[in-house]
Amino acid sequence: MPPWVKPLGVTVAFLAMIPFAVIARARVTASPDPRIHIIRDMDNQAYFKAQSSNPLFADGRAMRPPVPGTVARGEDELDDHRYRGTTPDGATYVDAFPEGLTVDAALLERGRGRYQVFCAPCHGVAGYGDGPVHHQALAAINRGRPGMEWVTPTSLHAENVRGFQVGRIFHVITNGVRNMAPYGAQVPVDDRWAIAAYVKALQASQRTED
């Protein structure tokens, strides 16, 4: 055998390991590069999935938002009590739950869960206005970060808030108030009533006088 066969064999064997090393590295590192997609089959079909983009529209949304001024069909949202928490003339907030909603342990439990998702970040688990977002915002102010216009979330045990009717709490969740953003788009109607019920229960639980 000529002398070059052995070194050649060793070199080839060595070079052959390199692709494996490269792949092994690729398997354990994250990469922003688009995925390599070899066999495309019918993976991407000519229809739009939820929240995908469509270049035909100026804003790029494939899911079209309703035209401004669109009203829901049916009589449903005409119910002021259920959808706005007010009396039909809109003059005062109601202090009762809408028809068909029973205030029981299940509703309060639902309300507790929803409260923790949507309200506790700012108002705190116990409702004193001391949630983690509030603390983080204070810390950012202390660090001197610009553009901090943070307003302290109201304590839900403040004298005036304790006096709120359930309808008013529902209304605050739905439409927001002054510096608090509305949560109507994030929380369905029944869940908003559940949160209102839970807030009432929370207020009662923290009441020490009388």
Partner: protein, 226 residues
């Protein structure tokens, strides 16, 4: 030279062992290419670890890990429908009208809120279009986000941690025990059963939970290909 006496090519004697070597090389080479393709083109290599750069450097580590926001604060539809929505700009503006209103990193968010044009988030997970997947069917039946998306609360940039291959779906549909948990804990990234976080404790909890709640993930083709 007559036509029926072609000249013989005479190979040197050292070629003999090389012929055998070449045979072995062809076999080895074939095996090598097969292994390389299997390893290199597996979903574990191609799909896992995809972490595209986003138009806004939004961080789950900050918003979930530090601020303690629940996944459902933003991904509101995850319990209600098949699709888990990426939040609209209005959700960010709940806070960012008051927080860091001058941050250059948030400029695209403010612009989107003003013009109504959506932020062009880059999709991370993407099943083939012929697969039907339903978030609510999993999240409300005791599978947590962490089983499929990993520790999102420690990701500054979201990355794909599961292959999303058919084998991956089916593996869990056959043996979901170690992933099961009470549905209220679906968004808890660090939930562990009372007995601790070991695989045995999870499986023991999962077996009981599966019986109690009649969890029976289907494996017929029409579940996912409809």
């Amino acid at each position: 030279m007559s036509w029926n006496a072609p000249q013989k090519v005479i190979f040197p004697r050292w070629v003999d062992p090389l012929v055998k070597l070449a045979g072995a090389g062809a076999v080895l080479g074939g095996a090598y290419v097969a292994m390389l393709v299997a390893y290199g083109a597996s979903p574990k290599t191609l799909d896992v670890g995809y972490a595209p750069e986003q138009p806004v450097p939004y961080s789950h580590t900050l918003h979930v890990g530090q601020l303690g926001l629940d996944c459902r604060y933003c991904h509101t539809s995850v319990e209600r429908g098949p699709h888990a929505n990426v939040p609209p700009t209005a959700t960010c503006m709940n806070c960012h009208t008051k927080v860091l209103t001058e941050s250059p990193q948030l400029a695209p968010v403010r612009e989107s809120a003003q013009t109504g044009k959506p932020i062009p988030w880059v999709r991370v997970h993407d099943l083939p279009d012929y697969v039907y997947f339903d978030h609510s069917a999993h999240v409300t039946r005791g599978i947590g986000c962490v089983s499929c998306h990993g520790r999102v609360d420690t990701m500054d940039i979201v990355q794909q941690v599961a292959t999303l291959s058919m084998a991956w779906c089916i593996d869990c549909h056959r043996h979901p025990e170690r992933h099961l948990r009470p549905p209220e804990e679906a968004t808890n990234m660090t939930w562990a059963p009372p007995g601790g976080g070991s695989v045995e404790a999870r499986e023991a909890f999962g077996r009981q939970f599966r019986l109690d709640h009649k969890i029976n993930p289907p494996t017929d083709c029409s579940t996912c290909h409809r």
